[in-house]
């Protein structure tokens, strides 16, 4: 395609990307460099049903005036990125000199909010993605062998987990794993431990979230694999049959190599999706034991009485960098393959 044609072909998409993706990122970045103006406090007398007290309150007028002068707030450079709720370099430095063993150092670092969230986010990503690809492939292979009549119905049933809104899906599961819910109670009876609670132990909560993640994401992998399976050429398969190849050998040596690029694609999307895991944490009320980077942004914007824009902006930037780092190996590989093919 000539460059000029390509330019005009790509122009509308590029413009939309700059407007709706590029500019918001730049604006979040600027916001993340700023913190709120100084709050000016004054003493006042408050009276309520419990009596009158002298108290401090924010001097709204004076603070408002500061805000007009500096609508973005005070410039803080990368201060927010480095504070305890984000990269916390100071705290890590202190931990390094204060701790006597690697284990102790690790405990201190993983207790810092950002690293705690990063650990869960990465664990979730890497625990969910491979099973999703595996199960998606198995399900696609099995359904592909069904008779035409059954296929439609089974395909619909299989993609249901993806159709259900994540928040609703996780809420339903949350109630089922309650110590009096059907799954929770059954596990209690099976293991013979009346005090077992899936919600109170952090390990069990993590496992629950990961199983939910696999359940929710598998249909996506399945549907892509299923579509790709329809493109597998029949000639080599027939040839292999004549040569006496078993079903396993046919899948291993013909189908899998053919689907390999598709698997890379699924992995890419899954990693990206799972890196911003959020809804299940809310649905399972798991905030206490499992926090993700997206949840941190939500916490800054929703769970405080006042929105911490700078903090949320900084976490967003770090999330973007995280996704970029995570995807680099896959992208590099795809690029290399692309080059060799040419």
């Amino acid at each position: 395609m000539p460059h000029k044609t390509f330019f005009w072909f790509f122009f509308p998409t590029g413009l939309a990307m700059i407007l709706f993706i590029g500019l918001p990122i730049v604006s979040s970045f600027f916001q993340s460099l700023h913190i709120e103006n100084q709050q000016i406090l004054m003493e006042v007398e408050n009276c309520d049903p419990f009596g009158c007290t002298t108290n401090v309150r924010v001097d709204v007028e004076a603070t408002e005036k500061l805000k007009e002068e500096n609508p973005l707030g005070r410039f803080n450079g990368f201060g927010t990125y480095l504070d305890r709720n984000h990269l916390a370099f100071d705290e890590i430095g202190e931990a390094w000199s204060a701790s006597s063993s690697i284990g102790e150092f690790k405990d201190i670092v993983l207790n810092l909010p950002f690293y705690k969230a990063l650990l869960f986010t990465l664990t979730f990503c890497f625990a969910v993605t491979p099973p999703v690809i595996f199960f998606g492939f198995i399900v696609a292979l099995s359904i592909n062998t069904l008779t035409k009549r059954l296929k439609g119905l089974i395909v619909f049933g299989t993609i249901l987990p993806m159709i259900v809104t994540p928040l609703i899906g996780s809420l339903v599961l949350f109630w089922m794993i309650d110590s009096q819910g059907i799954i929770g109670a059954s596990i209690k009876i099976l293991l013979g431990d009346p005090n077992l609670s899936l919600k109170s132990s952090s390990t069990l909560t993590w496992i629950t979230l990961i199983i939910y993640g696999i359940w929710h994401n598998t249909p996506f992998a399945f549907i892509v694999f299923y579509a790709a399976l329809q493109t597998v050429p029949q000639d080599p398969i027939e040839a292999a049959l004549i040569d006496g190849a078993s079903r396993f050998q046919r899948v291993r040596y013909i189908v899998i190599p053919h689907l390999y690029p598709v698997a890379t694609f699924i992995m890419l999307i899954c990693l990206m999706d799972n890196f911003r895991v959020f809804e299940p944490i809310i649905g399972f009320s798991a905030e206490g034991v499992a926090q993700s980077l997206s949840w941190m942004i939500y916490q800054d914007l929703r769970n405080e009485n006042k929105m911490l824009f700078g903090s949320a902006g900084a976490t967003s930037m770090l999330t973007i960098i995280g996704i970029a780092i995570l995807l680099t190996p896959v992208l590099l590989r795809t690029w290399k393959e692309f080059r060799t093919e040419r």
Binding site: Q38, N46, R57, D83, N303, N305
Partner: protein, 411 residues
């Protein structure tokens, strides 16, 4: 403190022979859109507001347990999403910090509603809210279970723990105690109660520097830990409404929840045997202190700054109509402790009056309190799961608070 008791008592005792003659109900223009917390007493109050608003104006109300998180953003917009907000002494501070509530002096002067003086919440000489009920968390117990095991009603948390242990050991209940320990605002509130009960101060005096990592903080956390060990193992996911459900299912014999819970716990729905067995008791003291480990709250109405004068006036008339309706208060005398004029008093007010008389403090109204409460909400979880020491958890609370308060410009 005496003044408080007198004020509270007065609002119960004033015998109202005649009430409601000039309620300022009946707005004829504008629209009313209210944001409020979600619990039964508020629903009762809102029914009255709605009937007050009449059919001439648009009326809508949003009940949400997340009202605290929504309010600042929703009222900051201009025009604001809501024309009015039901506030408490906790949730009014962030709104005041940003100047999102309008003074009501003009409207009160214009309509002269029938209010007690202690209903008028004044800040720096201006009235910003009209209170209609008082609330506090206190102890609830199942009489038959305590009687059967020969346990006297506990008056300290040490006794509560011993009593719950005894019930557990008797095999009657696996998890006899319940409190709203859900990670988030509820868990923070449990610490606030317990820390104040130990006589703690949240900030170094005169500054916004946190002051919770001390002996009193550690003691408070240890009491909370002992209580959670006698609670449902899912305690970190249970908010007040979930605890009330546990109570109504008969799984719990002792709990520390809001007085306003009476309106749903003592109503005609649910297991009447449990209802008949439910008793209210004063909030226990803790650690040898004399004051109960709880906080006093008022709930009131407030009007948004960023709404049109027309909507503000309509909202004020409907809301203040309900907040001055002796009929509402006396029809639902047991639903809560109404502060409304000519309220004759109900059967459930005792523990709140008791808390006030024994010197419980109101929830702190520092402008930076909500940030500390937020830090408490998330940083105490690991201690309660046994993964962290109390000192470490409190150090984390202070560090998390300092980072946020710095960003917000308080430090």
């Amino acid at each position: 403190m005496k003044k408080i008791i007198i004020a509270l008592m007065l609002s119960f005792m004033t015998s109202g022979a005649f009430a409601g003659s000039h309620t300022p109900c009946g707005p004829t223009e504008g629209s009313i859109n209210i944001l409020a917390n979600e619990f039964n007493t508020y629903r009762i109050f809102m029914d009255e507001v709605k009937s007050c608003a009449g059919s001439d104006v648009d009326f809508s109300v949003t009940h949400s347990v997340d009202h605290n998180k929504l309010q600042v953003a929703a009222l900051s917009a201009n025009p604001s999403e809501f024309s009015a907000k039901l506030v408490t002494n906790g949730s009014i501070t962030p709104l005041m910090n940003d100047g999102l509530l309008r003074p009501l002096d003009d409207l009160i002067a214009k309509y002269n509603p029938n209010l007690n003086d202690n209903q008028k919440i004044s800040i720096d000489g201006k009235i910003y809210a009209v209170a209609f009920m008082a609330n506090a968390q206190h102890l609830w117990y199942r009489e038959s279970i305590l009687d059967e095991l020969g346990i006297p009603v506990p008056s300290t948390y040490e006794e509560v723990i011993a009593a719950a242990q005894k019930i557990k050991d008797s095999g009657k209940m696996a998890n006899p105690y319940a409190g709203a320990f859900k990670s988030g605002w509820n868990l923070g509130q449990e610490f606030v109660n317990m820390y104040l009960g130990h006589g703690g101060e949240f900030f170094k005096s005169g500054t916004a520097q946190p002051n919770v990592n001390n002996e009193k903080g550690v003691a408070a956390l240890n009491v909370i830990k002992s209580l959670t060990e006698l609670s449902n193992p899912d305690f970190l996911t249970q908010d007040t409404n979930a605890v009330k459900e546990e109570w109504e299912s008969g799984n719990v014999a002792l709990m520390h929840v809001w007085n306003s819970g009476a309106s749903s716990l003592l109503d005609d729905e649910g297991d009447q045997a449990i209802r008949a067995d439910t008793r209210l008791a004063p909030s226990p003291s803790v650690g040898g202190g004399s004051i109960p480990a709880t906080t006093l709250w008022w709930d009131g109405i407030a009007i948004a700054t960023n709404t049109s004068d027309e909507n503000a006036e309509a909202s004020f008339r409907a809301l203040v109509g309900a907040a001055s309706s002796a009929e509402l208060a006396n029809n639902y005398a047991d639903a809560t402790v109404w502060l409304i004029k000519d309220y004759k008093g109900g059967n459930t007010a005792g523990p709140v009056v008791d808390a006030a008389s024994r010197g419980a403090s109101p929830y702190p109204s520092f402008p930076h309190m909500s940030l500390l409460h937020g830090a408490l909400s998330t940083e105490l979880v690991e201690f309660l799961q046994g993964n962290e020491s109390a000192e470490k958890a409190l150090a984390d609370v202070e560090a998390a608070y300092i980072a946020k308060a710095t960003e917000q410009g308080f430090l």
